[in-house]
Structures are given as C-alpha cells and as structure tokens.
C-alpha cells in the first residue's frame, strides 16, 4: 500500500479529479452531491500524498513536464512548500464548504452549484501547481468565471450587481496580467517561471511587465485602494461562496504575486516592496475602520477581509532582512485567515438563515438560541483578532518579531492598531448576540451540518495555534525563502 501511495501522481489527481467529477456531476446531476463530498475528501488525501512526496524528494520540489516536452517548449507543473501551503488551505476549506453546501443549497440551486464548485476547486489546484505564467493566466480566467458565476447564484439584485463588479474587475485584472505576460515572453522567449528567473533583468520591458502584472494581480487580490469590488461581491454572494471567495480565491492571486515576487521581481528593486508594504498598512487600517462602521454582518466580514489581506502585504518590506520568520508569518496568517474567515462567513450564513436578516443590532440572543454558530463565530474571531491561543496569534507574533528585529515601528503600530480594531468589530457582533432585539423575528431552522461545518473550520483555526512546529515543518517555507521560491 505505501508503495502504491508513494507512486500515485497526487499532484495530477488534484487537478484531474475535480475536473472530471465536475463535468460528470453536470452530466448526471443526481450524482452531484455524493461526487462532491467524495472529491473533497480525496483532495485532502491527495494533498497529504503530495506533501509526503515533496518531503521525500531532494530539494523538496515536485516537477512534472506535461506532454513530456519540458519548459520552455512545454508546460511544467511545479510544487514546493508554498504551493503545498495553498493546496492544503484549499483542501481544508474545500472540505468544510462542501459539507456546509450539502445542507445550504436546495434542489434547483444545488444542480447549478456543484459542477461549478468542483471546477473552481480544479482551477485553484491547477493554479497552485502551475510553473508557467501563461498557463497561470488560463487558470486565472477559469477561477474568475467560476467565482463570478457562484457569486451571482444568489440571484438577488445585490448579488447580480456584486457579481458584475467582480466580473469587470477580474477581467480587467486578467488583461493587464496577460499584457505583462506577453511582454515577458517577447523579451525572453519563454513563459516558464524558472527559465525566466535565470534571464530576467531590470529592463524597461520588465518594469512594464512588473507594473502590469502587479496592478492586475493587486486588483484581483483587492488590495487597498483597488478593493472597491470586493465588499459588494463578497457580502451579497451565498454564504459558502463568500467563504470561498474570501478564504481562497483572493489568496490565489496573492500566491501568484508572491511567487512572481520571489522568483522574478524581487531582485529588481526595494522601493516596490516599500510601496506594497505601504498599501498593506493602509489596507489594514482602512479595512478595519470600515468594518467597524458596518451595520450588516456580511459587509463587516467582507471589509475585515480587506483588512486581513493587508497583513499579508506587510511581509514584503520585512522579508528582505528577516526572510524566514516573515514567510512563516505569511504562511500562518494566510492559512489561519482562510480557515477563520470561512468559518465567519459560514456562521454569518447560519445567522442569516436563522433570523432572515444580517443586521448586527438585532441579532437577538443568538448566543443561547444558536450556540454552536455563535461559538464558531467567536473562535474564528479570536484568530482574526490575533489573540492567543490561535493561528492568527502565531502569525501576528512572527510578523511582529520580524518588524521589531529591523525597528519597523510604523508596521508594528499598524499591526497592533489592526488587532485592536479587529477586536472592536468582532466584539461588536458578539456583544449584540447576547442582547435582545427590539423587534422579534420568528426563527428559521438551521441544519446541523451547517452549524458544525462552521465550528469545524473555526476550531481548526484555533488549534493551528498549538501545532506551529509540525505545520511549519510540513510547509518547509524555510527553503522557499532560502532558494527564492523556485527550486533551481
């Protein structure tokens, strides 16, 4: 059995399985739900397998030349610690969301949801495994269309409007990215990241490419001030979709940005890092303040995402000196934010199903009427606030450490303020969930699966805080920071 286990090309399973099941569940809708759950489960297994293979390989890098041609003529698949981090996040959140969706989507909507959801998973995995910037473009589009469609699935006016903004933003982002890709291709005759990494130099074309790709990806990642499309879209989508959008989809473009940064653009110039850090800081403060202002739960959570994205960008100016602790911090922040934010959106969905509204002010004693959901939201909140014990705390601690090592007091201040504001908006919700609402609503029933899926993810985000050493070893980001991302 271990023999077979180690021989299975898990990386390809990660891509082909959801593709196939997605199409099959479109062909025979009756199979959709069971296929979805099975796929989600196997994906977790596949990630474990891939991780195991990566660790057993020397250099800790997985390669697969599609078509057997190899770069630059063909397309290479590639996986290292960073890819593994994102794949693991996808698998975990994917599992939680799948369980939740079984109960959430009813007949007609379920038929539409499952194929697209499975294809979206395939798109994410393909994206995290690609080592080819044009192939990345295709996966980006795949991801974008799937995400937009799922957003519009709610069918409400707000949802359609949000989806439209999202679509325009994501298409614009992709076009900018594609133009950058073609500039790189035409100056270096390859779209393979590793090959580019050897040839790239600070020429005007590369600068233009950096600008275009950077701008496009930042727009898709919704980094302040290009976040305008995110709150409407993430707040109006169906709960599980909001969870996926905030937890995974925007992380995907961040991953590409990070990957390109580590391999191609990092050597170019420090000032870019400073700029990214600046935007990140602005995002943290602005997003948190906006979240604090909101009266609708889902909008509050969406703005919190805008803020949390900012933390990830604080890493860029810090990585130059304290690479290891910074990238570990990013790993932890990304993973725990994904879990916690997904849990938050799912519990928001439960509250919406329960009270028929998401006005924070009249949550109406959900603490005792919907305890599991309230607990899920609270635990997720702990991680989002970065309070111990939680994954969020570890990430924040590592980032603070990196910032203090190089006396970046400005960033330290931003992180602390961000934490305080986060506490502000999380406890704004929790406080109101203890009190009675002025107007009573009769309560809808929330399926158990929905409540427990949310709690599962939230608990995972908290437990992460105790598993630092194994988790960091599993991702082995030390090497990533060391060898600048691509194992060459």
């Amino acid at each position: 059995m271990p023999e077979a286990f180690s021989q299975t090309p898990w990386a390809l399973v990660l891509i082909l399985l959801p593709l196939a099941t997605g199409m099959i569940s479109f062909l025979w809708p009756r199979l959709a739900i069971s296929l979805g759950l099975v796929t989600a489960a196997i994906l977790i297994l596949a990630v474990v397998g891939l991780g195991w293979q990566i660790h057993s390989l020397d250099g800790g890098v997985y390669h697969h030349a599609v078509g057997g041609w190899g770069a630059p003529l063909g397309i290479d698949l590639y996986a290292d610690g960073l890819s593994l981090l994102m794949l693991t996040t996808t698998a975990l959140v994917g599992m939680g969301v799948s369980i939740y969706s079984v109960a959430y989507f009813e007949h007609e909507q379920a038929l539409r949801f499952w194929p697209i959801w499975l294809l979206l998973l395939a798109a994410l995995n393909a994206l995290f495994l690609s080592a080819d910037i044009f192939n990345l473009y295709v996966t980006l589009e795949l991801l974008g269309l799937a995400a937009v469609t799922l957003t519009a699935l709610a069918g409400s006016k707000a949802a359609l409007d949000g989806a439209m903004r999202y679509l325009l933003a994501t298409l614009l982002g992709s076009l900018c990215y594609l133009l950058g890709v073609e500039l790189l291709y035409h100056s270096y005759g390859t779209v393979d990241i590793a090959t580019l990494a050897e040839r790239v130099a600070a020429t005007p074309v590369v600068w233009a490419a950096l600008g275009l790709m950077g701008a496009g990806l930042i727009l898709k990642t919704a980094l302040f001030p290009l976040h305008f499309w995110l709150p409407p879209a993430h707040s109006s989508a169906p709960a599980p979709v909001s969870a996926v959008l905030s937890a995974l989809v925007i992380k995907a473009t961040f991953y590409i940005l990070l990957r390109l940064w580590l391999t191609l653009f990092n050597p170019l110039n420090e000032s870019v890092a400073t700029l990214l850090g600046l935007l990140g800081a602005a995002a943290v403060l602005w997003g948190s303040l906006q979240a604090l202002r909101q009266t609708r739960l889902k909008l509050l959570i969406a703005y919190s995402t805008v803020a949390q994205i900012g933390y990830l960008f604080l890493a860029f100016p810090l990585a130059a000196v304290a690479a290891l602790s910074t990238w570990n911090a990013v790993a932890y922040l990304a993973l725990s934010h994904a879990l916690a934010k997904a849990a938050m959106f799912l519990s928001a969905g439960n509250l919406l199903r329960f009270g028929g509204h998401d006005r924070i002010a009249d949550l109406d004693r959900v603490v005792q009427r919907l305890p599991v959901t309230a607990m899920a939201f609270a635990l997720a909140g702990v991680s989002i606030m970065g309070l111990p014990p939680s994954g969020g705390f570890i990430g924040k601690w590592l980032l603070l450490e990196a910032a203090l090592e190089q006396n970046r007091w400005d960033l330290v201040l931003v992180m602390l303020l961000g934490g305080l504001l986060a506490a502000g908006y999380v406890f704004k919700v929790l406080g109101h969930s203890f009190t009675e609402a002025p107007v009573m609503h009769e309560a809808g029933t929330v399926p158990k699966a929905m409540e427990w899926a949310a709690l599962l993810l939230a608990v995972a985000a908290v437990v992460l805080g105790f598993l630092t050493v194994p988790v960091l070893a599993w991702f082995g980001l030390g090497d990533v920071a060391g060898i600048g991302g691509v194992g060459s």
Partner: protein
C-alpha cells in the same frame, strides 16, 4: 512516565475539561453539572496540595510543550505561583458552591459554569506560567473567558459594561504583547527566573528596558485596576455576584497584580528594576491608587460599587509592597495577595446574600439588617475589620509587614499612606456596620424571600462564613509554616537571600 512533568498540566486540565463538557450539557442536567464542577475543584485542590508539599521540599514541577520553534509553553510550580494557585483553587471551590446556590433556577447555567471553569483555568494558567508568552496566552484567555460572564445577563447595561471591560483589557493585552515581543527580540528569552533575565543586557538597552517595563506594567495595570486604568471595574458590577467575587478576589484583578509581581521579580529582577529607577514611580502610583480608591469608595451608596472602589485601593497594596524595594515589604505585598482575596470575597458574598434574600443593593437600605441576617453580617463584619486592618484579622498582618518593610527600606512616607488609607477604610466600612447592627430595621424590607428557619439558603450562607473564618485563621495562625505569611517569607527569602 514521570508524574512531575504532568501535574501542572493536570492542574490546568482539571478545570478545563469539566468546563468543556459542561458546555455540551443540556440546561436541565443540574446534578451532573454540579458534580463535574465540584469534582474538578476537588481534584485540582488535591493536585495543588501535592505540589505545595513538593515545592516546600525544593521539588520542581514543570511541563514544557513546544509552542514555536524557539518558544515553549512552560507551566512551572514555584513558591510564588503556588501561593496564587492555592488561593484561586480554594476560592474557586467556595465560589462554585456559592454560584450553584445563587443561580438556582436561573437560565443559561451551562454557559455560565462553562465559562466559569474556563476562567479559573486561565487563572491557574497565569499563576503557573513559566515564561512571559505562556503568561500572555493565559492572560488573554482570561479576558476572553470573563467577557461572557460580564455580559451574562444579556441586558443593554451588561453589554455596555462588557464593551468597556473589553476596550480596557484588549488595549492592555496589546501593550503587553508589544512589550513581550520587544523584550523577546532584545533578550532572546522570556523564561521567568528569580532576579530576572535582563540583567546581562548592556546599559545601551536601558531606555528600551524602561519603555518595556512601562508597556508591561500598563498592560497588567489594566486588570490590576491601577489608577488611571481602573475605569472598567466599577462598571463590571452589573455582573452576577459570583462573577464579581471572581473578578475581584480570585481571577482578573489578581492576575493583573500577580503579573506585576512577576514582571518586577522574575523578568526584570528587583535589583535591575530599582537600578533602572522604575520602582519609585510605581510605588507612588500605587500609593495614589490606594488613597484614590478609598476616597471614591466613601461616596458610593451602592454597596457593590463601594466594595469595587475598595478593591481598587486594596489591590494597590500588593503593588506598593513590591515597589518598595525590600524583603519585608515584599512579604507584606505578596501575602496581601491572599489576604485581600479572602476578605474581599467574603464581603462580596455577603453583598450577594443581601441582594438575593432581601434585595438590598444600597448602603442606605441596610438599617438593622444584622438582626435579620446575623450570620451574613457577622462574616461581613470580620471582612470589614480585616480591610481596616484591625488585629488579629489577616489585613492587619499585611499592613504591619508593609509598614515595617517601608521603614526598613527608608520609605517612611508609606506609613502616612497606610495610616491614611486605614482611616478612610474605617470611614467607609464602620457606618455600614453601625447601620447593620445598631439602627432599627425598617418594618418592611424591599423584598423578603424566606428559606425556612435559616436566614438564607445554605449554599449562600456557608461560603461567606467559611471565607470569613479563613480570613480570621490566617491572621491568628500566621506564624505557622504553611500559613500564607510563612509561604510569603519563603518567597521573599528565595528572591532576596538566595545566592
């Protein structure tokens, strides 16, 4: 396997596990819930007893779990930690009994007792922390687990109080976090050791160290209700009486004070702290808080608010004793950690009894209540006299050692503070006692719940009487080896005289 490595963890788990189970229990499973609570408390007490005996024989109990590649989660039982652990464990048992009686038939008890247990877990964790990050971890856990208790009643007022409580404590937590990370990036370790771990940092770091000290003390001062960070405490009075007892005597305020003791002794080391010149300002701040709290207490008619301000002033004694650099004052401060707890919890229990039985909330309503509830008021009287510092009750011991210590350290001004505060204590406690015993009772109480021939329910009556007897006992038998005083002497000896 070696039990010594597991006992500290078990002590923490002995309240954590019951707490988690209780969350899952249905509201009506009263018996099982009560059994779990008491079982946990008794097991914890037993384990603590074992550790007390061991540590007295210089035995080390230590649990280490890896938290970060370079940082460990350390639970260690030293003399100082045990003093606090013993206090909170014993008082948890008493408070649990009291809460069971107090919340008879009240809604959402599963939630209440669940967080109640988490709260004690956090406190014990704070007490046993072997390094600053472990301390930070449990300190924040304490914040999180007390919040639901403060807002437990779910009224708008409760929500507001909870909000205030959080604004203070979360900000405090942030300062503490900043100080901790900063210290870590300077010293490369956070391990608590007698006489501190920052001594060998060069003088070029002094300014940074002073900043860190301020950050840490500010962060802890919030929970210790040190002026001007005390604002949340009087507001938190909306919480049920057992919670107030918990906040004031067992957990929150104590955790803050204990933290300050830790920082001064085992992070900086009393010598380094004095050399940095940070102890004097701290002493002044403490002294001011003592007077300020007492003065504010004078003008409160609401009984619980008066007690709250009294707490603010009394806890500052602990900090004062630490900040006057000297072994004897240290003894006074440390021992007051226990004495204040015993006396203050007694007073809060009694206040709770008055509210529950006769729905008396104001001092002005207490005329002649001593005749209706003699046992309760007897306990109250002992507590009050203890607070004033009348011998032979516990409070006297603390104040005596503080005074002598101050003289020994050449800080005679402290005497004035002590005398002044004692006078003020008398001024806000004696009128209550006079009303209770010597005024005519009104022909009609605000309300009068009958409990057979008893003045009130057993579960409500026993705890205050017990704690009052304790408060008397630790005063009378202060000279015994295992008395809080004896223990405090042990601590001071290890802090000052060991090579």
């Amino acid at each position: 396997m070696n039990w010594d490595e597991w006992i500290p963890l078990l002590v923490v788990a002995s309240s954590l596990v019951p707490g988690l189970i209780i969350f899952a229990l249905a509201e009506e499973r009263v018996r099982l819930r009560t059994a779990l609570n008491l079982l946990g408390a008794i097991v914890k007490l037993g384990l603590v007893g074992v550790m007390v005996w061991g540590v007295y024989r210089e035995h080390i109990y230590e649990t280490r779990l890896v938290l970060l590649p370079s940082l460990e989660l350390v639970l260690r039982a030293g003399p100082l930690s045990l003093l606090f652990v013993t206090l909170s464990t014993a008082l948890w048992l008493v408070t649990t009994i009291y809460a069971i009686g107090y919340l008879e038939g009240a809604p959402h008890r599963s939630r209440f007792f669940g967080f109640f247990s988490l709260c004690v877990t956090a406190t014990v964790g704070v007490a046993l922390s072997g390094n600053l990050i472990t301390f930070l971890l449990f300190y924040e856990l304490l914040t999180l687990s007390t919040y639901p208790l403060v807002v437990h009643r779910g009224t708008e007022a409760a929500r507001r109080a909870g909000q205030t409580y959080l604004i203070y404590t979360v900000c405090g937590g942030a300062l503490l976090l900043l100080g901790t990370v900063w210290l870590y990036s300077l010293a490369g370790t956070l391990e608590f050791i007698p006489r501190g771990f920052v001594n060998d940092l060069g003088p070029e770091h002094d300014s940074a160290l002073i900043m860190i000290f301020i950050l840490l003390i500010a962060g802890l001062g919030v929970k210790a209700a040190l002026f001007p960070l005390h604002g949340w405490l009087p507001q938190a009075m909306v919480a049920p009486a057992p919670v107030s007892a918990l906040l004031h005597a067992v957990a929150v305020v104590k955790a803050g004070a204990f933290g300050i003791v830790r920082v001064v002794y085992d992070v900086f080391g009393i010598g380094t702290a004095a050399a940095l010149g940070v102890t004097m300002p701290l002493a002044w701040l403490a002294a001011f808080t003592i007077i300020y709290g007492s003065v504010r207490a004078l003008f409160q008619d609401d009984l619980k608010r008066r007690l709250a301000f009294s707490t603010i002033s009394q806890v500052a004694y602990i900090i004062l004793g630490v900040a006057i650099v000297g072994p004897i004052s240290t003894i006074g401060g440390v021992v007051h950690l226990v004495h204040q707890g015993l006396m203050k919890i007694t007073l809060f229990f009694c206040a709770g009894n008055l509210a529950e039985t006769l729905e008396i909330h104001k001092v002005s309503e207490m005329n002649g209540v001593g005749r209706r509830m003699p046992w309760t008021m007897a306990a109250f009287t002992i507590g009050a006299f203890g607070m004033i510092g009348a011998p032979p009750i516990a409070g006297f011991i603390s104040k005596w050692y503080l005074g002598v210590g101050a003289l020994e350290a050449g800080q005679s001004w402290v005497i004035l503070v002590l005398v002044g505060s004692s006078l003020l204590n008398a001024m806000y406690f004696l009128p209550i006692l006079h009303r209770a015993w010597f005024r005519e009772p009104p022909d009609q109480w605000p309300a009068d719940h009958q409990f057979g021939r008893k003045e009130t329910a057993w579960a409500l009556l026993l705890p205050p009487v017990a704690t009052a007897v304790f408060a008397l006992g630790v005063g009378l038998f202060a000279s015994l080896a295992f008395s809080p005083l004896g223990w405090a002497k042990l601590i001071a000896a290890r802090e000052f005289y060991q090579p």
